[in-house]
Amino acid sequence: MIPALRRFLVGVAAAALLPAGLAAQQPAVITGRVTNAAGAPLSNAQVTVQQLGIGSTTRGDGSYTLLVPAARIPSGPVTVTARLIGYKVGSSEVTLTGGSATADFALADNPLQLGEVVVTGAGTTSEVEKLGTVRNAVDSTAIVNSQEQNFVNSLAAKAPNVTVYSSSGDPGASSYIQIRGLTTIQAGDGQPLFVVDGVPLGNTTDYSNLAQLGLNGGNTFPPNRLLDLNPDDIANVEVLKGASSGAIYGSRAGQGVVLITTKKGRAGQTRYSLRSSWSTEQHTQLPALQQEFGLGTGGVSPSCVPGPNSPAPDPTHLNCRVGFGSAGSWGPAVAAGTPTYDHASDIFQSGYTTDDNLSVSGGSDRTEYFLSGGYNYNRGIVVGDNNHYRRISVRANGSQRIADNLKIGANIAYSSGSGGFVQSRNSTAGLLLGSWRTTPTFNNLPYLDPTYGLQRSYRFPNPGPGSEQVSRSYDNPFFTANANPTTSDVARTFGGISAEWAATSWLKFAENLGYDYSNDERFESWAWSNSNGAPPSGVIGVGGVNAGYIRNTQVDNNLTATLNYTASPTFKGTITVGQNLNSQTAQSRQTLGAGLITPTPFNLANTIITDVPNYDFYQKIHLEAYFAQATADIADQLYLTAAVRNDGASTFGATSRHNWFPKGSAAWVFKKEGTGAITYGKLRVAYGQSGTQPPPYLITNSYVAQTINDGGWGPASTTAIAGVGGLLSSFNLATTNLGPERVKEFEAGFDLGLLNDKADLSVTHYRANSSDVILQIPVATSTGYFNVAANAASLQNRGWEVTLNLRPVTTKDFAWDVGLQWARNRGVTTSLAPGLQFYQFPLSGGGNGAGLAVGGVAQVGQPIGAYRGTDFVRCGRGLTSDEGTSVDAACGSAAPGTLYIGPSGYPELDLNNTYIIGDPNPDWTGSLRTNFRIGKLSIGGLLDVRAGGIAYNGTKGALQHFGVAQITADTRNAAPVAFGSGYYPINEDPTNPSHAVAGPGVGLPVPLDESWWTGDASVFNGVDAAFLEPGHFVKLREVSLGYTLDQPWVARSLGFSSIELRVAGRNLTSWNDYTGVDPETSLLGAVSPVRGLNYFNNPQSRSWTFTLTMNR
């Protein structure tokens, strides 16, 4: 038997026998209290006797107790050490005898966390001051206090240039996170790699269950899979922002890395923590809808179109329907006394969330454990029973030192997610599309006809026999909310086992084998009479069911060997070599049954036809990597790091299967300790490369069985009709050789401790060049193909990040701190495949009717993701007017870009050209955080600021078309106005004073009537530029009031070491100039890098949360 294995087995046996070995007599008891410098007690501080392997943590009053078995009491003094993040280490020498001893600690503030060890990825660690890159960490308190069900949301406004976009306030709705701008343009990408306890954790947002039914990929807001991670389990988050810090993850780190460490047990007595919270939620801002005019066109109420069994055009007759030509609210003024309804909000109610978490942790000198269970339930703000998300999570983290030099550990998490979703966005069976288009005089309740029990809607108000399986054209939103259950049930297991083996005093091996498995059972159902017009339209009216699963598996093995060397007292460091093997498998199978035989049940067996080509998706990606890192600490003030990683990926082309990713950094701590204006100073500079892998399977042309759509209009055919199955060529032209995208980043900055540590300042500048960016290059469609993958673009992101923390008051009973963050990123496309004017961003999940002619693009010299679309006719573009005259000549000396007003008095549409019309990227982002502590009371707040950037409000353009937008009521009968002076059709910048106009129609008053709003000012027929709005906002992201009870009577009377009561508000208010729902909204959720699109998106939610935390 080899010695290592023998020692392993001996260790296991010893561990098993440990309890028996604890029988001791006359132990030593060390007690004491840990406070801050001002005397305030510090809880959760770790107190250890390192040489004995004994430790404990402090209670709410700062007290602790250490028990040393008599048999282990050493003869000489021992060193007791107290540690807490944010404070400098305190130590005290104590001589132990049988009986009690005391050691109190008053820890000095350590706001820069000097000396603390942080994980830096792939098994490497570093002390804070040795980092050559900026450090952004988020601790557990900040995460928990953000009260977010979705961990990604809790990172909002927590670190400069870490931008989070929540797609909607729906339970479980996905959120998108971006670090330092967009460094890639791949579908669904642009988001960082998440690594939990050393193991990559998938964070996909999968619309694919809806691919067969939802227009362009789905009409609910499905989760991003990091939702499965219980935020309460997180101890710490380190954000590796750029290539200079993330290069150790090579071709997976192009968009940054978020390293998450979960909570672990600590030696000492068993601790219990129960946190229970309850939130109430409401919708945030909504568009203004008019209640002054009713259904019709031209001021006249419509007759109706006869339907089944309904020969007469009498609107009161059964089964009469309102045709599209009369479906707007352009009818007569509402007569006095006629009831009207606020359809902007009547579909919403108060939602709530309950969140309960229990954790148990503890350990001995050899064993540490952490167990937790969490239950989170979010009842959404949409009426009905189909708007909720529930997560049950269980975690077990443990470690066992089975020999003095061998420690094994395991952490396993299981999460069960279950959600109900409501159809929304661009769907004629969507919630707000149906609700907000409803004419104000129609009461959507009851949504079922009292006599026949059939769906009634404003376009089909009197359903009767014969209409059971007839589309309502637009569904009644209450029907949508109640009748079409769509569910997702997720079971996910993730975690891993690890081993650390100190083979010698200078060489350590670390092994981490991780696993991540999720199975998402999805189910979508459509009731009879639904109006879903999405392709293929097999379910419209007749109902149907779509059922299937999405399964993702990832296995990751990371093995490192770390060598510590000391060449001289002033030259020492580490050398780490490692290997990483990774395998990712994604699989999904789905079956659509069209046509329900009977109205219920929603079950495939109750459907008529399942001949749509079944969705059967599979892909597997392998990665094999080797890496090495060396550090050098020179004279305790200069810290150098160099690393290189070689990635081999199955997705790389055969001739470039392996690629190198180097990095290097230097940190010079020119002042380490002291007093005065500058108490600490570090200059740092770093360079690194990381990458992004191509999608798999791009090297062959293939044939596909698929649906064949009539554009995006709804009608479709399939390759399986009449019992025969066909194939068509795939739109992807095979590519021969793809390498990884590469991000080369240079970063420099400084960190200062100021004013006797009353403040600290961090400033960072970076410049990241993305090269070989993988594009699905559009090829001339006349080739028969639509795109071909290639390394074909370059991007540049550069920016500044500033963090300033102030701690003006830090007394025992009163403390006040303020944190300011400011960041700016400028992204620009620097090159593009030859001949390509622009590259349209992939709209994974589809354009979803956003309406933009083109969308977000990469175009040389333009901001990454700038909107490209159609515009009004403007001066200086060499255009010909609708009258056939030269626009530029008519503009005279007007500045290029001035809006041209034709002789009719209206602007004209320039539909055959597209232009860069706006930049959705913010000019800068920032946050202001403050916290007051007055005795046991704490008050905090967080403002999130996004300055600049525009958003596309397609909803507005549709509401205008249908005459339900408030502005259409205000203007339709008002006096004519002149464009420019009285009205300006573009609202991208309300502070723009110019509103310049030129042309023969300037000053000519014209009516803003039905023709204008349904025509050129309609999203269906107007130009994209007309629906741009400011995307900036200042949001009160968090506000809280907490009180901690940790007086001795609490423990005596209630049995808890501390109890915290907390009231917190989230997203309470937002100051912005956007006329739709919150400008943070995102039509495409987390599946596309295109930001700021809105087409009947659901609103965000605000909440008040009441939390009770009990610790023992």
Partner: protein, 524 residues
């Protein structure tokens, strides 16, 4: 020594875990295991082509063509803009692409690329029937592409080794397509060997399902000749005397091939549809999902005028459209405009009675019970006969007798898809207007009517208003083509810059801009 032993062991573990030799190159990590990449038979692709046809030819392309010619009216949402000739490159993108292949996400497949692949597989297999059929489809597809877009890539198109095909002159494309059809016909004739089985044994024939290979060869030969006649008509206007370089006497050629074309309604080329949710007629699906278009006043007025003159009955009116509460038929003016100023006797678009309009009838209207199984005609006996009538009238040596015969043939045993209406009740002189108006009625919802209008300026149409809901026609002609697709414009530097509302080479003479008040003949 012990330490060294442990170090070596650790490193050995590390390297030993390096994985299999093909860890990065195994088949399941480099090639999609779910999709075929090699086809040895033409059948699957041929089925796909037939199924991809309707979304293209009953979809937005047909809506544009029939809105521009006012068979239908766009009266809500995007269709209002299309009625105003406002199709943008982003609107046409997927439709332009589908002539050649597929596009991402939306419209897809069955275009020139797959037709060439069918031909290549057929050559390998020695199957002349498949080869010939694919050539017929090629002419049918590219003929429509050339008509709608003008100059289009053809000779260099659908070739993965050339990512920027040149745009071929429209008239050259038509000429090439004639050659393709000639080739198809010549291939059919000698083909009788054991490999020349075409789609008969794999159930791949949807359009003429159930016919033998001899039957298929016969019927596709007729379709080829009818298509030849159709495509000659596409260039007839440009072939008039005095146009150097234009193909001479296109009418003469069309006239020559009409007798060889589809000779019976039984041989009409009808796109396959059945009542299953995904096999339904695209117009039916459109009505169910969108219904942003309605019957056009122009078509209904033409039909009513023929009925009033007792040269037609109202069977087709009743089949195409519903009547209002008073039994009248009333369509919408372009953009759904009401209150258009009209000359006496021409319905002004306000509805009959006021605000009441006809709707599409049950054959495509799901709200009235359509099963969606109406098989939309692509090229028919009626079209062939009416081409013959027009060609006889317009050819180098006009043949009024033949013109009348062909017109009469078309009006006997009237068909629309599988619906029949018997013989027309009265005689109709074979004037150009009468011939084209009959064709306008017979080819309901067929994109071909746009080409007829551009060539003949019949029926007499006033353009749509300048703005949505306007009361008067605009002062510029009805658009003569669609803009190229956005992706083609972006990725192919050879794409010419053209006025998307302008005219193509085959349409040198813009139709006069009529209005509703003073135009003679009446602007319908």
């Amino acid at each position: 020594m012990r330490t060294l032993y442990q170090v070596v062991l650790g490193l050995g573990l590390a390297l030993g875990a390096a994985g299999c030799s093909n860890y990065l190159s195994a088949p399941d990590v480099t090639r999609d295991p779910t999709k075929p990449s090699v086809l040895t038979k033409s059948g699957p692709l041929y089925i796909g082509v037939q199924e991809a046809g309707p979304p293209q030819r009953e979809g937005q392309l047909a809506r544009w063509a029939t809105e521009y010619t006012q068979q239908i009216s766009g009266f809500s949402r995007q269709q209002i803009g299309f009625d105003l000739y406002q199709a943008k490159p982003s609107d046409t993108d997927t439709y332009f692409a589908a002539f050649y292949g597929s596009s991402n996400v939306l419209t897809g497949g069955g275009g020139l690329l797959d037709l060439h692949k069918i031909q290549n597989v057929a050559r390998v297999n020695g199957d002349s029937l498949y080869l010939g059929i694919a050539k017929v489809y090629e002419a049918m597809y590219m003929g429509l592409a050339a008509d709608m877009f003008g100059d289009v890539p053809y000779r260099e198109a659908a070739d993965s080794t050339n990512l920027t095909p040149h745009f071929d002159p429209q008239l050259q494309v038509y000429s090439d397509l004639q050659a393709q059809l000639d080739s198809a016909v010549s291939i059919y004739i000698p083909a009788a060997g054991p490999t020349n089985i075409g789609p008969t044994t794999d159930g791949a024939e949807l359009i003429y399902g159930g016919r033998s290979r001899a039957g298929l060869r016969a019927v596709y030969t007729k379709v080829a000749y009818s298509l030849k006649a159709r495509l000659f008509m596409h260039v007839a206007e440009a072939s008039a005397a005095g146009r150097p370089g234009a193909p001479p006497a296109a009418y003469d050629s069309a006239f020559k091939y009409v007798p060889l074309g589809i000779a019976s309604p039984d041989d009409d080329f009808l796109w396959f549809h059945d009542g299953t949710p995904n096999g339904q007629n695209i117009w039916t699906q459109w009505e169910l999902a969108r219904a942003d278009v309605a019957p056009g006043a122009a078509l209904i007025e033409v039909m009513k005028r023929l009925v009033a003159a007792s040269v037609d009955d109202n069977q087709r009116l009743n089949f195409y459209f519903t009547s209002t509460s008073t039994g009248a038929f009333a369509g919408y003016r372009p953009t759904g405009s009401t209150g258009m100023t009209t000359a006496l006797g021409v319905y002004n678009g306000d509805g009959i009675p006021a605000a009441e309009y006809s709707d599409f009838n049950v054959f495509i209207n799901p709200f009235l019970g359509s099963a969606g199984d109406f098989r939309q005609p692509e090229i028919t006996y009626a079209e062939t006969q009416l081409i013959g009538a027009e060609a006889a009238l317009m050819k180098t040596t006009p043949d009024l007798g033949s013109a009348q015969t062909y017109l009469d043939n078309a009006r006997k045993n009237r068909h629309y898809g599988t619906a029949t209406f018997g013989d027309a009740p009265g005689p109709l002189p074979a004037t150009l207007q009468n011939i084209i108006e009959e064709k306008y009625v017979a080819l309901f919802l067929n994109p071909e009517v746009w080409n007829d209008y551009k060539r003949t300026c019949f029926p007499s149409l006033a353009p749509s208003p300048a703005t949505a809901g306007g009361a008067a026609p605009r002062t510029t002609p009805i658009a003569g083509r669609l803009p190229y697709g956005q992706t083609e414009l972006n990725a192919n530097p050879n794409a010419p810059q053209v006025d998307s509302n302008g005219q193509n080479a085959n349409d040198p003479n813009a139709c006069p801009v009529l209005n509703y008040v003073s135009s003679v003949p009446l602007a319908n």
